[in-house]
C-alpha cells in the first residue's frame, strides 16, 4: 500500500540547514523542481539521485524505456509513493505548501472502474479540497464541473456510471477532474496510453490551451513519434537523469540512445530526430 509521507516538513528543514552547500541552486519559481530524488522499491533504486526542472508555460514530457522510473518520478514528486531522499519544490515552495496548485491525472488502470460513481461525481472529486468535508457542492461548483466536462467533450455523459465508458472517455473524465481543480501545474501519467485517436487529439488540445493560459504541463509519455508535435521540453530518464531541455536541443539521437540503450533501432532514431540522421 502506498502510504504518502505525512505532510511533515523534514525535506524543507533539511535543505535550509544541512544542505545549503548543494551545488545545484533551486530555481526560484519553476513550476516543478526536483533535487536529489531517490526512490527505491526494496533495495533497488527505481529513480536515483535525480535533479529535474520543468519550466513554466510549457509542455514537458518525461521520456524513457519501461521500468526507467518515469511514473515513479512523478508519483514520488507528489508524495503518492514515499521518497528515500530528495526535495520537491512547486513554484519555489516546498510541495506541501503548494498542493492546491497541482492537479494530477493518474494512470487509468490505477482505479476500479466498476466503482459506484458517475462521471459527474468523479469530476466533482476535483473540488473536494475546495469545498471541504461538509460544504455543499453549490450550483456554481456543479456548473464548473459541467464546464470542465464540456472542455473534454464529455458533457453528454455526466450521469453515466464510469464503468460504461470507453478507455478514451475514462481518460477524458480524469482530465476533467484535474481541470476542475483549476491548478497551475498539471501532472499526467501516460495520458495517451490506450486511448483512441480522437481522444488523444482532444486531450492534446486541452493541454495546449492550458499552456496558452500560462500553466505548466508535465506528462509521462511513451510515444516517441509524437514528442516533437506535442511537447516543448523533454526530460530523459533511465533511473538516472540522462538529459533535459528544450525538444530542439535535448531530444537528440545521442540522448535517446543513451536513454534506451540498444532497445531503439537506429533507423527508428533517424526518423525521430532530424538532427541525428545526417
Amino acid at each position: 500500500m502506498a502510504s504518502p509521507m505525512s505532510p511533515g516538513q523534514q525535506p524543507t528543514i533539511a535543505t535550509e540547514n544541512g544542505r545549503a552547500a548543494r551545488p545545484v541552486a533551486v530555481p526560484s519559481g519553476a513550476p516543478l523542481a526536483v533535487r536529489g530524488l531517490t526512490v527505491s522499491y526494496g533495495e533497488k533504486p527505481a529513480v536515483f539521485s535525480v535533479d529535474a526542472t520543468f519550466p513554466a508555460e510549457s509542455m514537458s514530457a518525461i521520456i524513457g524505456p519501461n521500468g526507467a522510473g518515469k511514473s515513479t518520478l512523478l508519483k514520488a514528486s507528489l508524495g503518492v509513493i514515499p521518497r528515500l531522499s530528495g526535495d520537491v519544490y512547486v513554484f519555489g515552495q516546498a510541495i506541501e505548501k503548494a498542493r492546491e496548485r497541482i492537479a494530477y491525472v493518474p494512470q487509468r488502470a490505477s482505479v476500479d472502474w466498476d466503482f459506484p460513481t458517475t462521471v459527474m461525481d468523479v469530476v466533482q472529486m476535483g473540488l473536494y479540497r475546495r469545498v471541504g468535508l461538509l460544504g455543499r457542492l453549490s450550483g456554481r461548483m456543479a456548473a464548473r464541473a459541467r464546464d470542465c466536462l464540456d472542455r473534454v467533450g464529455m458533457a453528454d455523459f455526466a450521469h453515466r456510471q464510469i464503468g460504461q465508458l470507453s478507455g478514451g472517455q475514462q481518460q477524458r473524465v480524469f482530465l476533467a477532474r484535474a481541470l476542475a481543480q483549476d491548478a497551475d501545474l498539471y501532472l499526467l501519467d501516460e495520458p495517451f496510453a490506450g486511448v483512441d485517436a480522437a481522444t488523444e487529439r482532444a486531450i492534446i488540445d486541452v493541454l495546449k490551451t492550458l499552456k496558452a493560459e500560462g500553466k505548466a504541463v508535465v506528462a509521462v509519455h511513451h510515444d516517441l513519434s509524437t514528442v516533437r508535435d506535442y511537447f516543448d521540453h523533454v526530460f530523459l530518464i533511465n533511473v538516472r537523469r540522462i538529459a533535459e531541455g528544450p525538444v530542439a536541443t535535448a531530444f537528440t539521437t545521442g540522448n535517446l540512445q543513451a536513454t534506451y540503450g540498444g532497445r531503439l533501432a537506429a533507423t527508428h532514431l533517424d526518423e525521430l530526430s532530424p538532427t541525428g540522421g545526417a
Binding site: M1, A2, S3, P4, S6, P7, K75, L78, G79, V80, E96, R99, I102, Y104, P106, S110, V111, D112, F115, P116, T117, T118, D121, V122, M125, Y128, R129, L133, L134, G153, Q161, R177, Q181, L187, D196, A197, A198, T199, R201, A202
Partner: protein
C-alpha cells in the same frame, strides 16, 4: 402468527421491543459504516478485527475483578474489546506495510492468534472464583436474553455517532476507496483515512458484540453494502441504502427470533440480511441477474436481426433458425426464410446505412463520430439529417435490392 405481529409492532413485551429497536439501530450503523469497507475491498479485515475483540473481553473482566469491581460492567468490557481490536488492526496494517506478507496472510495470522488468546483468557476467567463470570461466552454469537436498557443506550449512542462520522468522512473515504493515488496527490493522508474508516468499523463491531456476537458481525457490515450496490451506481446512496437494508434486517431478524421460541437473534438477523441480498441479486433493475439476462437476450436479438437483414440484402441464405424465427415474427421473412416485401425494404435500408457509414468514414472530419460505428447503432443517432443527406448525395440514388 399473532406473536410475530405482536413482535413486529413492538407489542411482544419490553425486552423484545428493546431488542428490535437496538438491532435496527445496530443494523443501520453497521450497514452504513460497512459500505466503505466494501468499497475499499477490505471486508476481511473487519473479520480479523472482530475476532481480536475477544481477548479484550477476557482481559477487561480479569482487570475489573482484580480491582474489586463487577467484572461484567458493559462499558468496561467494551473498552477492553476495543483496545485489543485496535491492536489487532494496527498489527495487520504494520505487517502489510513493513513486511513482504500480503494482507490476507496478515488477516489470517491476526484473526487466529487473537481469537485463540481470547478463548484461553475466557477459560482462565471461568476458573476464577471471584466475579459473576457467567455469560461472557455470549460475546461469541450474541444474546438477547439479558438485554438491558443500558445495552440499548450503548447501541443507540454508539450507532448514531458512527453514522454521523461516516457521513462526515464520506468524501475523503470515497476518494481513497476510488482512487487512493489521486487522494494522496491532493494531500490527503491516505493511511490516516484508512485507519479512521477501520476505526468506525471497529466501533460498530464493539457495540454489536452483545447483540450479534463477534463471529457474525462481519456479515452485518458487508452484506447490506453488497446488497445496496445492486440498487445504485452512486457511492453516497450506497451508504444510505446499506444503512436501510441493515436496519431492516436487524429489526425483522429480532422480530422473527422473538416470535419463535429460542431462536438465536444474531444468526436470524444475518439470514434476513442474506435474504434481502439474494432478492437484490436476482431482481434488482440494472445490475440484477434477471435484468442482465434479459438485457443480454435483447441485445442478442438486435444482433441477429441486423445480421439477418444484411444477409437478405446480400441475398445470402439465413442459416440460423433463431434469426429466421426472429425476422418471421416481424413479418420480414416467410417461415422458409424467403424475404417478404417488408423484409426487402428493411434489408435495403440496412444495406444503404452500411454504405452511408462507408462514406462517412471517408468524408467526415470527426473520428469520434465515425468511430461510433458498431454495426448496431442507427446512423440517425450519430449524424444529423443534413449530414446523412450529404452522404446520400455522394452515394447516388438508392438502388434496388438486386443491385446491392
Amino acid at each position: 402468527m399473532q406473536t410475530f405481529l405482536d413482535a413486529l409492532f413492538l407489542q411482544a413485551g419490553y425486552n423484545a421491543a428493546l431488542v428490535a429497536i437496538g438491532a435496527a439501530l445496530l443494523g443501520f450503523a453497521a450497514g452504513s459504516a460497512g459500505t466503505f469497507l466494501f468499497l475499499r475491498k477490505r471486508a476481511l479485515v473487519s473479520d480479523a478485527v472482530a475476532h481480536a475483540t475477544l481477548p479484550g473481553v477476557g482481559l477487561a473482566f480479569i482487570v475489573m475483578v482484580s480491582l474489586g469491581g463487577d467484572g461484567r460492567s458493559l462499558l468496561g468490557l467494551l473498552a477492553g474489546s476495543a483496545l485489543t481490536a485496535w491492536i489487532g488492526l494496527l498489527l495487520i496494517e504494520w505487517i502489510t506495510r513493513r513486511t513482504r506478507l500480503a494482507e490476507d496472510a496478515a488477516i489470517g495470522a491476526v484473526l487466529g492468534v487473537f481469537f485463540g488468546l481470547g478463548v484461553v483468557l475466557l477459560t482462565v476467567v471461568q476458573s476464577m472464583s471471584a466475579g459473576r463470570q457467567a455469560g461472557l461466552e455470549t460475546f461469541l454469537l450474541g444474546s438477547t436474553a439479558g438485554m438491558l436498557y443500558e445495552d440499548a443506550v450503548v447501541i443507540a449512542v454508539g450507532g448514531s455517532l458512527t453514522v454521523l462520522a461516516t457521513s462526515l468522512l464520506r468524501r475523503p473515504m470515497t476518494l481513497v476507496a476510488f482512487d487512493s493515488e489521486y487522494a494522496a496527490a491532493m494531500g490527503y493522508d491516505v493511511r490516516r483515512i484508512d485507519l479512521l474508516m477501520m476505526g468506525l468499523v471497529m466501533a460498530v463491531t464493539v457495540i454489536g458484540l452483545k447483540l450479534v456476537g463477534l463471529i457474525l458481525i462481519v456479515a452485518m457490515l458487508i452484506i447490506p453494502a453488497v446488497t445496496a450496490r445492486f440498487w445504485t451506481d452512486r457511492s453516497h446512496r450506497v451508504i444510505w441504502i446499506a444503512g436501510a437494508a441493515g436496519g431492516a434486517s436487524g429489526y425483522l431478524g429480532a422480530v422473527i427470533s422473538a416470535s419463535a421460541p429460542s431462536m438465536p437473534t444474531g444468526p436470524i438477523i444475518v439470514l434476513v440480511a442474506a435474504a434481502i441480498f439474494v432478492v437484490s441479486l436476482f431482481f434488482a433493475p440494472g445490475r440484477g441477474v434477471l435484468a442482465a439476462v434479459l438485457r443480454h437476450r435483447r441485445f442478442q436479438a438486435r444482433v441477429h436481426r441486423r445480421q439477418g437483414l444484411l444477409a437478405l440484402a446480400a441475398q445470402h441464405p439465413i442459416r440460423e433458425a433463431y434469426t429466421v424465427r426472429l425476422l418471421a415474427r416481424e413479418g420480414l421473412v416467410r417461415p422458409d426464410g424467403v424475404p417478404t416485401d417488408a423484409g426487402r425494404a428493411q434489408a435495403a435500408k440496412v444495406a444503404r446505412d452500411e454504405r452511408r457509414w462507408d462514406v462517412a468514414r471517408e468524408v467526415h472530419q470527426d473520428a469520434g463520430l465515425t468511430g461510433r460505428y458498431d454495426g448496431l447503432t442507427p446512423i440517425e443517432e450519430v449524424f444529423t439529417r443534413d449530414e446523412i443527406d450529404e452522404f446520400d448525395r455522394r452515394l447516388g440514388p438508392p438502388m434496388g435490392l438486386g443491385d446491392v
